[in-house]
Amino acid sequence: MDKQTPAVSLRHITKAFGSKVVANKDVSMDIMRGEILALLGENGSGKTTLMNMLSGIYRQDSGVIYVDGNEVHITSPKDAFDLGIGMIHQHFKLVDVFTATENVALGMDKKTTGGAKEIAKAIADICDRYGFDIDPKQKVYNMTVSQKQTLEIVKTLYRGANILILDEPTAVLTPQETDKLFAVLRNMKADGKSIIIITHKLNEVLAISDRVAILRKGEFIGDVKTSEASVQSLTDMMVGAKVELDIERPLIEDRPLLLSVSHLTCLDKYGVKALDDVSFDAYGGEILGIAGISGSGQKQLLEAIAGLQKAEAGSSITYNDIEKGETEELIGKSVSEIKKMGVALSFVPEDRLGMGLVGTMGMSDNMMLRSYQKGSIIFTDRKTPRDLATKVKEELEVVTPNINTPVRKLSGGNVQKVLVGREIASDPKVLMAAYAVRGLDINTSYTIYRLLNEQKKKGSAVIYVGEDLDVLIALCDRIAVLCGGKLNGIVDGRTVTKEEVGLLMTHIDDSKKEDEA
């Protein structure tokens, strides 16, 4: 076979969702045979979308895909399989009550696979060849995340994949498991397979890949040989040149301590530490940014403060009630108990329609989601939320036919305005917002920044979890950077550079710990 023909070529691939969000814009790139390509980019840079087009989940709006030099039309995962392309998604596609063998056999013709014995043998062969270790008879629900991932890879290889795409494979793995995975990937490379690994962990990129391709905001920025790259150069390419944003950042002199988080440790649903001994303080009159690649523990952090996430022993979150002059422990309290204690806490969660709002209800009904219990009669107070809805609609210019239109029918920006509007209306002392401008247009984003600043000026402590470093640096007074569930430093938003934050996000340097500003 011609060594020069790329295994896969993408040419001028463009994909948009709806009319506003362009996920990939005119991307052209090649993947060679026998190489490991790292696809690097921040959250929302379009890496997964691009690869989903290769694996048949999405269809590109324009552009052409070539496999081994031939133009191909991939319309379903099955098409991708037939072309030897296999993708290992972050959410595994496995049937829990089936054994490894059964999962591998699924959907395949028995004439080609043979019975369970033949498949088990084929699995064993694949395992021997690449150094995997799985028990063909084990049920998936008994497997660890790492074993499930291994099974996904084996399944893909069994189906004859020559081009493997792994979407953030290390996000769910321990360091030891990551090492094992990398060893396997190297074996597969030696076998002539092409491997694309989607990631934003720089140290891993350097450790495993031959070449790095970088996407930023949906566009292909360029590629470099890994041997010629460094953490610094990759960070620069990934985050891009600093964009000056015209976001207001007033300095408030009076900054009382409102919230103390100390030694907070939480487990995720797999029992892995999502947060590991995190401690910081949040003050009134400031915006504390939380930076970190996605899944670094942001969700657990905010939910632990809100009373939605169980914390491990030794964790403490205290709220300083200045008016009462009391300090109250929030750990171990439920949402309603925290509310009853009079803690003025507002929370704009990441999942707007799945958690923050009720999609089938109108603005008016959504306004009382967190306050419907007020008053002693059994009926809800309808007037206050209606007035509030009208006020939010006018002040934040929410575009909706009327305040009773189900909010799921509104556009993303308007949904967020409803949610933020409600959370701000309760006059919070602590306001938490997760990815508050994700998917919003520029104007709405600026509205949200203005609202957050207004809260700050009122003396609230604002905790802002964000992904766009330009915004974090322009908006926040201080930025706490999470990396793999650990707090990797708190920096001053006025002086820090984008590269410094980028580095803290991706790289824990054990030698100079606690480099706090």
């Binding site: 048949g56 070539y66 030099g69 031939n70 133009e71 191909v72 039309h73 991939i74 319309t75 379903s76 099955k78 098409d79 037939d82 072309l83 809100a306 009373g307 939605l308 439920s334 949402v335 309603s336 925290i338 509310k339 929370f347 969660p349 999942d351 799945g354 958690m355 923050g356 709002l357 009720v358 999609g359 089938t360 209800m361 009904d365 009382m368 989601l369 967190r370 419907y372 219990q373 059994i378 009926f379 809800t380 309808r382 189900p406 799921r408 029918k409």
Partner: protein, 372 residues
């Protein structure tokens, strides 16, 4: 570079997408059209079976329901009973708890009423018996609803299958007591209870209420309005909607999901108990294993067709009861079997549930999408 075009997949000619943008008037138009379509199909079947002209047939059906004051009151009673069970099931459905155990909960309520009437009928003053009847029947229904709810809340036991099984346990319990209390040993029939004293009878003086259905109708009318306000305006109703929509949102809002599940099923069961009481103490003054008459199942469809809105349920139960009574009228007139009404009910429901597809989804042509 090679230019062989390899098309591995067939692009389907059309594909189905979920829609959220249909105006309310249009969705109701579709539903009304589907009812009309089902009526036409029913008419065709009726003509095939009877060979008579369809207009004549519908006139007959009309006469079956509105032909005389007695028939009209019987229609109202039929609507009231079906509506009462539908109201009872609705809070559970809104919470996405599939309570298909209405039949059993109604029977247990009825059994509670029967027990009080039989055991205390001659021992306690009539008003006290009536009070006991009310309390015990509500309690029995509530317990029958509570049992599956507790297991759902704490162990996530499949409520559809659980409540379904509870129906047949209730039927057998009622069969047992029908035997125990049967008026003539062994004939398995309980004659009208307390026919002389009317102890435990829920009734208005016959001067006011000639056919004995008025009080039931009034009670259910009041319940309908109460349920409407409960679901729409009360805090508990609000909690039910939130839990039904998303458990995550409910937790975020500080709602105790387990508590809401259990509380709502107590209400659901209790209201079924009321229906059982109205049937036993308010209408039949006796009980048999068929007292609920399949209403526990029909009510599921009534409630679902009305989109869980108590006021619309008046219309859907009217439609179903009218068609049932009309079909019975036709079958008497033409000497058909009375099960004809079940066939008609089935067809109407098939059409209405099928029509929901056109409200929730739209069919797009592939080619069009590519152009756009």
């Amino acid at each position: 570079m090679a230019t062989i075009t390899k098309s591995t997949g067939k692009e389907p000619l059309f594909h189905i997408v979920r829609r959220t943008d249909m105006p309310i008037w249009k969705s109701w138009l579709i539903r009304i059209l589907s009812v009309l379509a089902s009526l036409i199909v029913c008419a065709v079947i009726i003509v095939l079976v009877t060979g008579d002209n369809p207009i004549q047939i519908y006139a007959t059906m009309f006469k079956g329901s509105f032909g005389s004051p007695r028939r009209f009151w019987a229609l109202l009673q039929g609507i009231a009973m079906l509506l009462c069970v539908s109201l009872a099931l609705t809070p559970a459905f809104k919470m996405r708890f599939w309570n298909i155990g209405g039949e059993g909960q109604v029977l247990m309520g009825g059994l509670g009423a029967t027990a009080c009437m039989i055991l205390f009928g001659n021992k306690l003053p009539a008003p006290v018996v009536l009070l006991l009847v009310i309390v015990v029947s509500i309690l029995c229904g509530a317990i029958w609803g509570l049992i599956p709810a507790v297991f759902k809340a704490f162990w996530n036991t499949n409520e559809t299958l659980f409540t379904l099984m509870m129906n047949y346990i209730a039927i057998q319990i009622v069969s047992y007591f029908t035997y125990i209390w049967s008026s003539n040993k062994g004939n398995n029939v309980i004659n009208t209870i307390n026919n002389d004293t009317h102890a435990g009878w829920l009734e208005l003086p016959s001067s006011v209420d000639k056919y004995g259905y008025m009080l039931n109708v009034l009670i259910v009318a009041a319940l309908t309005i109460m349920m409407y306000f409960y679901l729409k305006y009360s805090k508990q109703g609000y909690e039910i909607s939130v839990v039904g929509e998303s458990e995550n949102t409910a937790k975020y809002a500080g709602i105790n999901v387990k508590k809401v599940i259990i509380r709502t099923m107590i209400i659901s069961g209790a209201l079924c108990g009321v229906a059982g009481m109205l049937l036993v103490s308010g209408t039949d003054h006796t009980i048999n294993p068929d007292t609920a008459g399949g209403r526990g199942f029909t009510a599921i469809m009534v409630s679902w067709l009305a989109k869980f809105n108590p006021l619309f349920m008046v219309v859907t139960s009217l439609l179903i009861v009218f068609m049932q009574k009309g079909a019975i009228e036709i079958s008497t007139q033409f000497g058909l079997n009375s099960s004809f009404s079940d066939i008609i009910t089935g067809i109407i429901i098939f059409f209405i549930i099928g029509s929901e597809f056109f409200i929730n989804y739209k069919i797009q042509k592939r080619a069009k999408e590519v152009e756009a």
